[in-house]
């Protein structure tokens, strides 16, 4: 039996790929993006998140917290347990929807992810993955139905500064996916405070014929409360203005 660490399961997700989907957030990521909106998915081990506003002050933390003040993020689950959750909404996936493996970096739990994909495919469920492309696994990319991958910053130094890793491998993996002719939806989270080189990223992606779509995802502060609950400093970034996003519109593209 293969187990993995799951941070959360979100049903009826409509922004993580086509149709209605169940998103499985796998815990752990080798990148440490400064703006990460799922900071609880970076560490590979279960963590306690603390929401003091929910605490009722009963003093019985050790006997279990029922108020939602102390929440353990990350639990070990079997493939069967995850698939059971995925199947709950099978009737709602239709022809487009299905399951999206996100994180964290789902490929960091390679064996678990591979087994999950197999089990879901066996049930006829469309599988998508959201990945940083820091890892490359041909077997997984061959069998998955949709790859959504980020290229966050063009300049390698800046990439290292803000994510903790070089983007050399990521660019290389984009090229490899193109060689394998695996369709990809490419995305860049837009952080106004960083010179991300979105023009260069767009140019690079345009040369790859497998990239079906290039999307820009404006930074949002949904991770703030979670950062606080984990005792991490605020990231200090701001939401890009509508004007700022409009200025970048020319770099996005869709290929039919």
């Amino acid at each position: 039996m293969i187990n993995g660490i799951v941070a959360d399961i979100q049903r009826a997700s409509v922004h993580d790929g086509p149709g209605i989907r169940t998103t499985i957030f796998l815990k752990g990521c080798p990148l440490h993006c400064a703006w990460c909106h799922n900071p609880e998915c970076i560490d590979f081990e279960p963590q306690t998140m603390y929401y003091p506003e929910k605490c009722i002050g009963c003093g019985l933390c050790n006997e279990g917290c029922f108020s939602g003040a102390k929440v353990i993020c990350g639990r070990e689950m079997t493939v069967e347990e995850v698939v059971k959750q995925v199947l709950l909404d099978k009737d709602y996936y239709g022809t487009d929807g299905g399951v999206t493996f996100s994180g964290g970096e789902p490929l960091a739990q390679r064996e678990f992810l591979s087994a999950l994909i197999d089990a879901c495919k066996e049930q006829g469920i469309h599988c998508a993955v959201e990945t940083s492309l820091i890892y490359f696994n041909e077997e997984i990319f061959r069998k998955i139905d949709l790859v959504m991958a980020d290229l966050k910053i063009w300049d390698d130094k800046l990439h290292k500064k803000y994510t903790g890793v070089s983007n050399g491998a990521i660019k290389e993996h984009f090229r490899k996916l193109n060689e394998m002719n695996i369709p990809v939806i490419a995305r860049t989270p837009v952080i106004p405070e960083i010179s991300q080189g979105i023009e260069q990223i767009s140019e690079f992606l345009k040369k790859l014929s497998n990239v079906r779509k290039y999307e820009l995802l404006p930074y949002h502060p949904l991770g703030s409360a979670k950062r606080e609950a984990l005792g991490i400093e605020p990231d200090g970034f701001t939401i890009p203005s509508a004007e700022y996003m409009k200025g970048l519109e020319k770099y996005v593209f869709i290929r039919e």
Binding site: R11, G19, C58
Partner: protein
Amino acid sequence: MYSYASRLKAMRDTKVAHTLAKREQNGYTDLDDFGTVPISEGYWVEPWYNSTNGSFYGYDGMCENFCRVLDAHEPYIDPNEMLCGRWRDMLVNYRGDLHYMPDWLKKNPKTQEFMKSATNQWSKRWDEGRFPYDHLKPLQLKYNIQTGIDGDAHFACDYRIGFELGFGGLLEKIEKYRSMNPDKKAFYDAEEKVVKAIIRFVQRHIDKLDEMIASETDEAVKANLQEMKIVCKNIRYDAPKTFHEVCQWTAIFNCASRIYTRDGAGFQLDGLLLPYYERDVKAGILDDEKAKFLIANLLLIDPHYYQISGVDENDKDMTNHLSYLILEAADSINIATNLTVRVHENCDKEFMKKAVYYLLKNKNGWPRFCNDKALAEGYMRNNGVDKKTARERIAVGCNWMCVPGKEFPMNDTVKVNVAKVLEEALKDMRSEGTYSTERLFELWQEHLKVAVDVTAAGINLHLDHIWEVTPELVMNLMMKNTIERGEDISQCAELYTVGIDGAGLAVVADSFGALEARVEEEKLLTWEQMYEALDNDFADERTRLILNSAPKYCQGGTVSDEWAKRLTDAWVRIVKAQPMPENRQLVPGWFSWARTIEYGSNVGATPNGRKAKAPISHGANPNPHFRTDGAPTAQANGIASVQCGYGNTAPLQIEFDPKLAADEKGIDTVLQLIESHFKQGGTLININILDKEKLLEANENPDLHPDLVVRVTGFTAYFASLSPQFRQLVVDRFLTGI
């Protein structure tokens, strides 16, 4: 400018002004808008009381007071509109039902004087002197039963009867059958007076139009008023012949039926109006723009429940060009509208997409969707219902369906608070001293049986005597058998499939789930500790949270989901096993209507961690905060599993802000949700797609968004007219569903 667009905008602005003015006159109303307009200066009706208890009943009592109230109604003509007529006041107000009595009437010095001089029985809707039911009251109270005794007239007219005959033809029909049934003089006298009062109402509009035409200087406006006058003259006595006339006839009839006792229901709008539309278009006297304007005008006059689309008895799609125009018309006026789209796999897919598009575009809670398959097949499981009849049974109420002209279902007027039933079962188990969820379930069923039995007794009392208390003099005009036999519809309906709804499902399911998980399995609490917590209304918050954090109904595959199914099976079994006399049969559903606050106020603390007097759960919905992601799919799965299966509904009520645009992806996603829920056997979907910021802003200050419409339950309401407590309830439900 006097274009359709500018006129519609002006009509919408007037509607907003009316909403605010009504709130000023009536206070907050947690009800349907009903399309009323504010009471005009000096409006007064002197009621005629024919009972020693200071109220009025029966053919003469209802007829005389209907005529008085209708005669007191001034004509309503807005030169921007093409149809005239509005209602303001209704008969039941004069029976002193304080629950519904508007503030303007309570404040009136004459009313106050009357209240003092009347007997101390102020709420006298039912004639308890003649038809007492004191013997039922203790149990009705014990189980918090909404009895349906003198409840609203929840059935539907067959408008084809009226369209064919007109008011003059109805008078002739009354005369014809009067001579055949000489012993029914009181009935025919009353029906005749009612029709004549309606004709007078039309005439007053004609007179007023004459005055307005004489003083109107704008040629375009004048021409419109002249056309309105011709239409009114044509339908005053004769049957409507054109599209314009049939819309005006409907508007007048609806005003009359609403005045009667808030009565009436809509019809298959795209079906019944189609022949008039086609004929007029062919004759070159109607184009789509005018047709849309007239429909928008009709929807503005009264937010009756109309059904559109669906299939006929041979499963053939009934969607037509008019179905599309109706959606476009509703969009052009975009007010509180109760259009229900009947969904079937054979229905025009493009039409379904268009319906969803408007839901996403306007975020005003319309249209809603009902499932032909589950409703028709379910209804056919009742005795004596064939496929043709089942297909005729259309969505015309909050949660309910009805066969127009034939059925007397009392739908949505009869409810059992199953959370109150649980409270009684818990008491019994405590006195027995042996505790288990299985024993509690047995006791719950025993109490439920008693509750259903006493509810049935109330229903039978109503059906036996309502014709002597509140005969349906207006709606009788368009029902089968009534005029022919000289009988009220309550006596001569072809179908008595009487709806009985359970309210509070999620509270009970989560209570059983919490007891099984936290007390029996995990042993985090003892039964005694649980009872003590209920006694002291969860003085210890941790105890409450232990129970409240147990797996809930609609989370998916939980212990409470299983309990919800078991509770539903028991509810359906007990309701269907209840013996009923003659050709009457009970039909179970899950629905609370907008009474969650009221029902909750009668129930103490419950084992799901609900505090005493807190609202009960809404309809078949889960309790608020059932999942952190609030997944609508989770809710839809759960509700599909608790359908009662006999053609009445357990609606899926969803409010969420999916951040989806009205584009292809948004439409496909919402349509997928609807179709999947219906494939699973769901019956009715009310969706509020709301803008979070706007809703929260309106909750702080409703006057910032007086045009914001929310689908409260089956009905829609202007958010600004709801009480603060009720607004909060909607917001809480919404926050769960983000």
